[in-house]
Amino acid sequence: MEHTQSRDACWHSRHHSKMAVCIAVIAKENYPLYIRSVPVQNELKFHYTVHTSLDVVEEKISAVGKAMADQRELYLGLLYPTEDYKVYGYVTNSKVKFVIVVDSSNTSLRDNEIRSMFRKLHNSFTDVMCNPFYNPGDTIQSKAFDSMVSAMMVQAS
C-alpha cells in the first residue's frame, strides 16, 4: 500500500538522511526568521535560492483571489526546479513561509514526505510561537526547532 510505502520511505530516508539541503522560515515581511543549509559552504547560494523562490510563493498565494485562505492550501508544492535542486514551498495562514530545498538527485523523496516535513516544521514553529519568551519577528533560536530541522537535513557530506 502506498501509505505503507511512504512510511517506509520516510523511515528509509530518515535512516539515510536523504532529506533537505536547505530549510528556511520566512516571515510575513519576507525576511528570514530561520535559515539553515547543509553543507554550510553553500549557504549563500541557498539564501539566494530561497529569496528568489519567494516570488513564486507570492505568485501562488495571490492566485487564490476571492477564495482567500479558506481554499488555499498550505502546501504549495514544487515551486520551481533547477538542474541542481528542487524548491518546495509552504505558507501558513499568517503568511509565514517555509521553504525546503532538496537535492534534485534525491529522487526517493516523495511528495508525502515533503508534506510531512512541512507539517513538522509547522508544528515546531507553532511550539516556538507558543513560547512566551519568543517575540514574533525574532530569529528562531529554539534548540528544539534546531534539532527538528537537523533531523530533516541531509547529513553533511
Binding site: R7, A67, R72, N112, R115, P132, K143
Partner: protein
C-alpha cells in the same frame, strides 16, 4: 581515644568536612592529602598542625579515621580560638567556634567563626558545609574558594535575614542556614559545580546579606542589590529556594542520588506558593505572558529562559500548569546556581501531576493546529501518569517505590480528572489495550467466580457475570468483560459449566445484570461509590484458572459476603479488536464479539475502578504460584483501588481527546496498571478507519496471557503479607503492561503514520481549487 562530644552543628560540620576530605569515598578514612590541605587552610602554624595530628591519634594510626578527623577538627577550633591544645580541652571547652578554613584569598574577608547564639536559635544546622565531594558536574572552578563555618560576621545580617526570611516563606530555617552556607561558600571550590557565574551571583548575594535587609533582587541582581521592595520577599525566598535547591542538589549528589533534578518537598512547596501568587487556582494555568514576566525577574538571559520554557511546557500550550511551573522554576533555580540546562527535560521534572479536568484539557487542544502528527508527541505521559501515580500510593502505602508519587498524591478528585485525559479520543487508532477490570475484594471476587461458574447458558457473554445488586454498573462491566473474555477464551465457559453450586442466586443476579448492561452503557458518570467488581473473565479463560477457582471457591465456600453476590474482579480482558460496533452486547463469540465487548466495555469501564482490577490481575498472576497459603487479598486494598479506578475511568471516558489520550493512555499503562486500556477501547469503538489485523492476534495473545492467570485466592487475613503479595503481583503486572505499552505505542506510531499518509493522499485527490 578520648570520647568526643560534639554539638549537632559541629557534628554536621565535621561530617561534611570529613566527606569533603574523603576523596576516595571510603567513608572511613580521609585522605591524608586532603586532610593536610584542610589543616593548612586552618591557618595555623605548622607545628600546631603537627601537634594536632599527633593528638588526634592520626600519627599513631597513620591515617585519618573519622574519629581522628573529628578530634583534629575540634583541636583546630581550639587552637584557632587561642586555647592551649590539650586533649582535655576537647570536651571541656564550651561554645567552641567551628574550625575555620580559608582555602584561598579573595576579597572575602575571613569571617569570624564565632557562633552566634541567635544563629543557634535559627536552626540546628548552622555550620557551613564544606563543598560536598565533587559531583559529576563540575562546571567551572571559581576564582576563590572559601570554606567557612558558620554564619559569618555580619551579625546583623543573620538577624535581619532570618526574620526576613522566616516569616515569609514556608521553607524552614534549614534552608535559611543553607543560604548562609551558600553565601559563604560563594567561591566554591574546585569540586563545586557552580560556575563563575554562580560566583558572581553569590557575590551580590553576600552583598545583599551585608545590607541591612536582604534586598529584593539580591539573588537576581548582577552586582548590586537593588532593593526592589515589592519583590524582595520573592527574591529572598527565591534565594533560599535556590540555596536549598543547590544544596539539595549537592546533597543529593553527595548522598548518592542519581537525580540532581529532583525537587524536594520544600522546594515544591515553595514553588507551589509562588504559583499561587500568580494563579490562585492550583489546577489552573499560568498564561505565558505572566510566566514570562515572572521568570524574566530572574534576570536570566532570554535565550535561556526560552529554552527553559521549551523544556518545561510539556504540552506546548503556551501556559504552565503547576507541574510545568515547578519544573520551570526548578530549572531556573538550577541555572542560577550554575547548572547547565539539560537538553531534555529530566524525568523527575516531567509533569507527573496533571491538572486534569475538562476545562484544562481544552486549552491543551487549542494550540493544536490540526496536524495529526503533533498531538501524539505532544501529549506525552502527562495526563495519565500523574493521576495514576496519585492513586497508586494510596494503594501501596508501605511501598517505598511509590514514595515519589505518594508525596504528590492528591485527592480523589484527581482521579476523575485523570479519566478525562485518558479518554480514548482517536477512533482511528486501532490500538487496543487490555482493559483492567477493577479489582474487588476477595469475597466479591469469589462471588464473581461463582457467578461465572454457574452461567450455564453461557453463549451469551454476559451470562456468567455476576454482580452485586447495588452496583449495576459494575455488573454491566462485568458482563462486558466477561463477554469479552469469553469471546477470546473460546472454551472458557465449558469449565464454568462444571460448577453448579449457588447457581440460582447467581443466575438471578446475572439476569438482572444482563438487563442492566443493556440499559446502562452510558453510565459514565456513575458516582464512584465502590462499584461492584466486574466478573472475572479469566476464570473462564482456561481450565487451570477454573480449577483454581473451583479449588478456591471450595476452600472458601461463602466468604464474608457483605453485599450479596459480588463479581470477582476479572482479569484484564484481552484487547478488543479495532473493529467495534457500538452495540452494548453483540453476543458474538467471534472477533466481532471482541469488538462489541470493547465497545461496551469502554462504556462501562469508566465505572469500574481500574486499580482494583489490576490488583486482582496481580492476584491472578500471583496465584499462579501456589496460593495455598490462603493469602487473602486485602479487601481494603481492592476497595480502594476500585474506588480510585472508577474515578479515572470515568473521567477518561468523558474526555474524548484523540491521539493525546491514546499516547497518555499508553504511557500511563506503562507506568502503572490502570485505566488506559479502557479509554482506548472507547476510541476504537467510535470509528474504525484503520483496522490493524495484527491487533486481534495480539489481543488474543493478551487474552491468553490473562486467561492463564488463576483466580485470586482468598487471603486469610494476614494484611501485611497480603499487601506484600499484592505488591509483588502488581509489580508483575506492571512489567507485563509496560511491555504491552511499548508494543502498543509502536503500533500507534505506525498507525498514525499510515493515517498521515492516507490523509495526504486524500488531499492530493481532492480537486485543486487554488493556486
Amino acid at each position: 581515644m578520648e570520647s568526643l562530644t560534639l554539638t549537632d552543628v559541629e557534628q554536621k560540620y565535621y561530617s561534611d568536612l570529613f566527606v569533603y576530605c574523603d576523596t576516595d569515598n571510603t567513608k572511613k578514612v580521609a585522605s591524608n592529602g586532603k586532610v593536610l590541605d584542610l589543616f593548612r587552610a586552618a591557618q595555623l602554624p605548622s607545628d600546631v598542625v603537627l601537634q594536632i595530628t599527633e593528638l588526634c591519634g592520626a600519627t599513631r594510626l597513620g591515617h585519618f579515621g573519622r574519629s581522628q578527623f573529628y578530634i583534629a577538627l575540634k583541636l583546630i577550633a581550639v587552637a584557632q580560638s587561642g586555647l592551649p591544645l590539650r586533649v582535655e580541652s576537647l570536651n571541656s571547652v564550651k561554645d567552641l567556634p567551628l574550625p575555620r578554613f580559608v582555602v584561598a584569598k579573595n576579597e572575602q574577608e575571613a569571617r569570624h567563626t564565632a557562633m552566634y547564639p541567635d544563629l543557634e536559635n535559627q536552626g540546628p544546622y548552622q555550620g557551613v558545609i564544606p563543598r560536598p565531594p565533587a559531583r559529576g558536574q563540575v562546571k567551572k572552578v571559581s576564582a576563590h574558594e572559601v570554606i567557612q563555618p558558620c554564619v559569618p560576621t555580619v551579625e546583623p545580617q543573620p538577624d535581619t535575614t532570618s526574620p526576613v526570611v522566616s516569616p515569609h516563606h514556608s521553607p524552614p530555617t534549614s534552608p535559611h542556614a543553607w543560604r548562609k552556607h551558600k553565601r559563604q561558600a560563594s567561591g566554591g571550590n574546585v569540586e563545586r559545580p557552580p560556575v563563575v557565574v554562580a560566583g558572581a551571583v553569590w557575590t551580590p548575594f553576600r552583598e545583599s546579606q551585608s545590607g541591612p535587609v536582604v534586598a529584593g533582587d539580591g539573588m537576581w541582581s548582577a552586582h548590586s542589590p537593588p532593593p526592589v521592595q515589592e519583590s524582595w520577599e520573592n527574591s529572598s525566598i527565591r534565594t533560599v529556594a535556590s540555596v536549598a535547591t543547590a544544596n539539595e542538589i549537592q546533597r543529593q549528589s553527595s548522598s548518592g542520588y542519581d537525580d540532581p533534578w529532583k525537587i524536594t518537598d520544600e522546594q515544591r512547596q515553595y514553588y507551589i506558593n509562588q504559583f499561587k501568587t500568580i494563579q490562585p487556582d492550583l489546577n489552573g494555568f499560568i498564561p505565558g505572558s505572566a510566566a514570562k514576566e515572572f521568570f524574566t525577574k530572574s534576570k536570566l538571559p532570554i535565550l535561556e529562559l526560552s529554552h527553559i520554557w521549551e523544556l518545561s511546557d510539556f504540552d506546548k500550550d503556551g501556559a504552565l500548569t503547576l507541574d510545568e511551573f515547578c519544573a520551570a522554576f526548578h530549572l531556573v533555580v538550577a541555572r542560577k546556581n550554575g547548572y547547565d540546562l539539560p537538553e531534555k527535560l529530566p524525568e523527575s521534572l516531567m509533569p507527573k501531576l496533571i491538572d486534569l479536568d475538562d476545562s484544562a484539557e481544552v486549552p491543551d487542544q487549542a494550540p493544536d493546529v490540526g496536524y495529526s502528527g503533533s498531538p501524539v508527541e505532544v501529549t506525552p505521559n502527562k495526563s495519565p501518569m500523574p493521576s495514576l501515580n496519585q492513586t497508586w500510593p494510596d494503594l501501596n502505602q508501605g511501598n517505598e517505590q511509590w514514595e515519589t508519587f505518594s508525596e504528590r498524591s492528591s485527592s480523589s478528585q484527581t482521579l476523575t480528572q485523570f479519566d478525562s485525559n485518558i479518554a480514548p479520543a482517536d477512533p482511528d487508532t486501532a490500538i487496543v489495550h487490555p482493559v483492567p477490570i477493577r479489582m474487588t475484594p476477595s469475597k466479591i471476587h469469589m462471588q464473581e467466580m461463582e457467578l461465572k461458574r454457574t452461567g450455564s447458558d453461557h453463549t451469551h457473554p454476559t451470562s456468567p457475570l455476576m454482580a452485586k445488586p447495588p452496583e449495576l454498573s459494575e455488573e454491566t462491566k462485568l458482563a462486558t468483560s466477561m463477554k469479552f473474555v469469553t469471546v477470546n477464551s473460546g472454551d472458557g465457559y465449558s469449565s464454568s459449566d462444571s460448577y453448579t453450586s449457588d447457581q440460582d442466586p447467581i443466575t438471578s443476579v446475572v439476569t438482572r445484570q444482563r438487563s442492566n448492561s443493556g440499559t446502562s452503557p452510558e453510565g459514565l458518570k456513575v458516582v464512584a461509590a465502590p462499584p461492584p467488581p466486574p466478573p472475572r473473565p479469566n476464570a473462564s479463560h482456561s481450565r487451570s484458572s477454573s480449577l483454581d477457582m473451583n479449588r478456591n471457591f471450595a476452600a472458601h465456600p461463602t466468604g464474608p459476603q457483605q453485599s450479596g453476590v459480588v463479581a470477582c474482579p476479572p482479569a484484564i480482558p484481552p484487547r478488543p479488536l479495532p473493529t467495534q460496533t457500538s452495540g452494548p452486547h453483540s453476543g458474538h463469540r467471534s472477533d466481532e464479539g471482541l469488538a462489541a465487548h470493547s465497545t461496551t466495555s469502554p462504556q462501562q469501564i469508566p465505572e469500574q475502578p481500574n486499580f482494583a482490577d489490576f490488583s486482582q490481575f496481580q492476584a491472578f498472576a500471583a496465584s499462579d504460584q501456589p496460593n495455598d497459603d490462603g493469602e487473602k487479598h486485602p479487601e481494603s486494598l481492592p476497595v480502594e483501588k476500585s474506588t480510585e479506578g472508577a474515578g479515572p475511568l470515568r473521567t477518561v471516558k468523558i474526555d474524548n481527546q484523540e491521539e493525546r489520550a491514546a499516547a497518555t493512555v499508553n504511557s500511563a499503562k506503562g507506568s502503572i496498571m490502570a485505566p488506559p486500556p479502557k479509554p482506548v477501547r472507547r476510541r476504537l469503538k467510535s470509528e474504525d478507519e484503520l483496522q490493524d489485523e495484527a491487533l486481534p492476534p495480539k489481543s488474543n495473545v493478551i487474552a491468553t496471557v490473562l486467561a492463564t492467570l488463576p483466580s485470586i485466592p482468598r487471603s486469610v487475613g494476614k494484611d501485611k503479607k497480603a499487601i506484600q503479595a499484592s505488591i509483588r503481583r502488581n509489580k508483575e503486572t506492571n512489567t507485563v503492561l509496560a511491555r504491552l505499552n511499548s508494543e502498543l505505542q509502536q503500533q500507534l506510531k505506525d498507525l498514525l503514520e499510515e493515517r498521515i499518509s492516507l490523509e495526504v493522499q486524500l488531499e492530493q485527490l481532492r480537486p485543486f481549487s487554488h493556486l
